[in-house]
């Protein structure tokens, strides 16, 4: 049996004490253990940022790529070997800022992977600039008069483009998060979990206290996850309450299902057949 401790990694953790990434990491380990996966069977692809460092602190295979580019990197992996359980770990700047275009494309392409966005509404690793999800008016060292743009709404975005697994979680609620990650891994296609994460060093607005007062679990309240309109309504609702949980779930063919034959055997597993190639060359 796999145990949470199997995912412990000796490499020194580099996050700030109290960072919301710690409970996310805990929940992640829990979900992996719940899935019965061994570390050597897990692959995490990540971008650059504090969130992007996650796989260094987890025993697993990983590719820690470029800022903003984890999704295409993971898509390439998935095309080559769709059987791997792929987790993608990104920051809000990573996924919705530098990587915004890939987020759109991933929803359209629907590769089978679990996308975890550590959404702390700030650029952590680069010391506290605004992120795409920072509220308008949020003050930072380089936005001393407050952020000018309106924030991106990632959940609404995912819903509007037909994503088949759309959730939002809060780092402080580990069990709910672990459950969502596990469900997401069971889902075939891209599953999006926007994780509201506290950054104790650079975001003094959206703190543990701030979230605690606001978050509630829609699934506990019996939200119908097949009801797109209800999901959209929950997301667009203003006010002081913030819905968390699985908003919407719907089966869609994942990328491998869209390519004849790919779902049967991974590209990486097929053997090289010179005779077959020769036939094609001869026909050219």
């Amino acid at each position: 049996m796999v145990d949470v401790s199997d995912f412990h990694c000796d490499y020194e953790n580099k996050w700030c004490p109290g960072c919301g990434n710690f409970p996310i990491l805990d929940a992640l380990k829990q979900a992996l253990a719940d899935q019965g996966l061994a570390p050597e069977d897990v692959l995490m692809i990540s971008g650059i940022g504090q969130a992007g460092k996650t796989p260094h602190f987890l025993r697993c295979n990983f590719f820690h790529g470029l800022h903003g580019r984890a999704l295409p990197l993971a898509t390439g992996v998935s095309v080559a070997n769709g059987e791997l359980p792929i987790l993608v770990s990104m920051g809000d700047g990573d996924c919705y800022g530098e990587g915004g275009n890939h987020f759109l494309a991933a929803i359209r392409r629907n590769p089978d992977m679990t996308l975890l966005i550590h959404d702390n509404r700030v650029y952590g690793l680069t010391k506290g600039q605004a992120s795409p999800t920072s509220e308008r008016g949020f003050v930072t060292k380089i936005q001393p008069m407050g952020v000018r743009s309106d924030p991106l709404n990632p959940v609404a975005l995912a819903l509007s483009q037909g994503a088949g697994f759309v959730a939002r979680a809060y780092c402080g609620h580990k069990e709910q998060l672990a459950g969502l990650i596990s469900q997401a891994m069971d889902y075939k296609g891209v599953s999006v979990i926007d994780i509201m994460q506290v950054c104790v060093s650079f975001n003094t607005v959206n703190t543990y206290d701030w979230y605690k007062k606001r978050v509630y679990d829609i699934n506990a309240q019996g939200h119908d996850t097949e009801d797109w309109n209800a999901a959209m309504e929950l997301v667009m609702a203003g006010g002081d309450r913030m819905a968390t949980g699985l908003f919407y779930k719907k089966d869609r063919p994942c990328f491998a299902d869209r390519v004849p034959g790919l779902a049967e055997s991974p590209l990486a597993a097929r053997s090289y057949d010179p005779a077959r190639v020769q036939v094609l060359l001869d026909q050219a």
Partner: protein, 570 residues
């Protein structure tokens, strides 16, 4: 002198100029002649002025000729623009129902005849018929090609085309066309292919299993070439949302264990440079084809250039080993793709293949047979190769600089990869020893990589004067060397395919012997010339440069070298 005739077909985009060229090329190829079809298209879909220039010879041809023997003008603009290019004994066919003045212009109502044969769309067949007839080809040749082409198509299509061909042929009966020649009856000399197609075949033969791309002329056709095999080989071709995605997908696929490539042109390559560096530091083998076109920025999107050499040599922040190869011919293109994949795998580095619009879009004859490699060396380790898979380190320091490459989730060994500088196990490191250790490890590969580099190909390397070039310009340079020699000049040619790591010793040896050498390049600053000086200290005497977006004519190279030489002698 044997056969050497050039047919130029011009008209508006969308008129099917390429079809005329195709038909003629296939007829010639079918009876053992050599051809080279060069495209000159505008960046538009309909209208304007485009042309195709087909050179026909009984010997291999690798560059367009500046003299036109037969001009097929499907639009008045074509006639205006190109009539002056006619050789002395040349002739123009002009698609019109009126009479055109001038004894070297024949008016033929090509489109009208096509319409009568069943549809204006067959103007191409009419034109092909007229051309072949003028050139003295037996009627049966075109008929056979049409039969192969339209076999199995809707009934009537073949018949109408045969009719169209016939009317084209009849329209020129009685015209005495001096460049006509006796048509051989030999077997085809090789395969009739475009550069883009041969690159795709090369990738296929190298077991490329994933190709990601964002459309960009002139690279898209390489990807289109691969797409055709998607259902018959273990291969997925995916259109990415942008070039950044394309290169990152390719890195991901390679990391997961399949050979992968992308193809783009300069603007797309610019967007890929950060990813190139990621492949560099993570030591992930990838192949990028950069098919050059004139820039900067959008530049001349459908024309040719050789102006990205320095860019691809130094693209991405900081330094790391890479291969840069620029094939000089179709045969070289096929082989180069195979080498690019093999070298990338062996050294765990990115390999860049530099071609250009002229290379990709031209149709020529690949003479060497296309063979699939018997067995591929992937240089991948598994648990079975390790004493202790749990102790596996992706970036282990080794004498060769090459670390054992395992695949993720393929066993007990954890594969940990980071685009940050790292420890041997792949975790981020910021320490001085790890930094120096990994940089030195990566660069230690260079010695062996240099050993893989082939010297430039040469013609008459011991000549007093050498003409030096790279990539697709080789064909024109080679022919210009022949011209110069036939005029008594002691000239030779040097053509680089392998550019980086720079084959310094070979270059020094070859270029050190001559009295002076000329660079022949399609850019403004003689980029290879600069590199040669940087690496060998040898300075070219003069550079024959062309940057108007059109390929070199052998004649213009020879003329410019001759003028320079005469200035010395005189």
């Amino acid at each position: 002198m044997g056969i050497d005739v050039t047919v130029k077909v011009g008209g508006e985009a969308g008129q099917g100029i390429q079809t005329v060229g195709d038909l003629l090329a296939r007829v010639c190829h079918g009876c053992g002649l050599y051809v080279l079809a060069v495209n000159d298209f505008e960046s538009r879909i309909r209208g304007g002025h485009s042309f195709l220039q087909l050179r026909i010879s009984d010997r291999p041809v690798a560059a367009p000729d500046h003299r036109v023997h037969l001009l097929v003008a499907l639009s008045p603009r074509t006639l205006d623009m190109h009539l002056s290019e006619l050789a002395e004994n040349g002739l123009a066919i002009f698609d019109t129902q009126e009479q055109t003045p001038g004894d070297n212009v024949v008016s033929i109502a090509v489109t009208e005849m096509a319409r009568k044969a069943g549809g204006a769309i067959m103007a191409n067949t009419v034109a092909a018929g007229a051309c072949l007839s003028l050139l003295g080809a037996p009627d049966s040749l075109l008929e056979n090609v049409l039969k192969t082409q339209f076999q199995g198509k809707k009934s009537g299509v073949l018949e109408n085309n045969l009719k169209a061909a016939q009317s084209g042929m009849q329209a020129v009966t009685g015209i005495d066309f001096a460049p006509a020649f006796a048509w051989p009856e030999k077997k085809p000399a090789g395969k009739l292919l475009s550069g883009a197609k041969i690159l795709a075949l090369g990738a296929l033969a190298a077991d490329c299993r994933f190709a990601a791309f964002y459309p960009m002329s002139p690279a898209t056709d390489i990807m289109a070439g691969l797409t055709g095999f998607e259902d018959r080989a273990p291969l997925v071709v995916e259109q990415a949302e942008d070039e950044i995605a394309a290169v990152n997908m390719v890195i991901g696929a390679s990391f997961a264990g399949v050979r992968a490539m992308t193809a783009t042109s300069g603007g797309g390559f610019a967007l890929m440079t950060e990813g190139l560096g990621l492949a560099g530091i993570t030591e992930t083998p990838i192949v990028i084809v950069n098919s050059q076109r004139p820039g900067p920025a959008t530049g001349l999107p459908t024309r040719t250039a050789q102006a990205d050499l320095r860019f691809v040599l130094h693209a991405a922040q900081d330094e790391f080993p890479r291969f840069v190869l620029a094939p000089t011919s179709l045969d070289d293109g096929f082989e180069t793709m195979g080498r690019a994949f093999a070298l990338a795998d062996k050294y765990q580095v990115p390999a860049i293949v530099l071609t250009d619009q002229y290379f990709n879009d031209s149709v020529n004859i690949a003479q060497k047979s296309l063979t699939a490699t018997e067995s591929l060396k992937r240089h991948i380790v598994t648990d079975a190769d390790m004493d202790d898979p749990k102790a596996y380190r992706r970036y282990e320091i080794t004498d060769s600089g090459i670390s054992p490459r395992a695949l993720p989730c393929a066993g007990q060994a954890l594969v940990m990869v980071s685009g940050n500088e790292h420890q041997q196990d792949g975790h981020i490191s910021e320490t001085i020893p790890d930094r120096i250790g990994q940089v030195d490890k990566r660069f230690r590969k260079l010695t062996a990589m240099e050993g893989e580099m082939r010297p430039p190909r040469t013609d008459y390397p011991d000549s007093r004067v050498l003409l030096v070039g790279w990539g697709s310009a080789a064909g024109a340079i080679r022919e210009s060397v022949d011209m110069l020699r036939s005029e008594g000049m002691d000239a030779g040619g040097v053509y680089f395919t392998d550019i980086w790591p720079f084959p310094q010793q070979a270059a020094e040896e070859i270029l050190g012997r001559c009295e002076r050498f000329y660079m022949v390049e399609q850019n403004v600053s003689a980029q290879l010339g600069g590199l040669i000086r940087e690496k060998t200290g040898l300075k070219f005497y003069q550079a024959i440069l062309k940057y108007d977006g059109r390929p070199f004519f052998p004649f213009e190279i020879a003329r410019r070298v001759k003028a320079a030489e005469e200035a010395i002698d005189g």
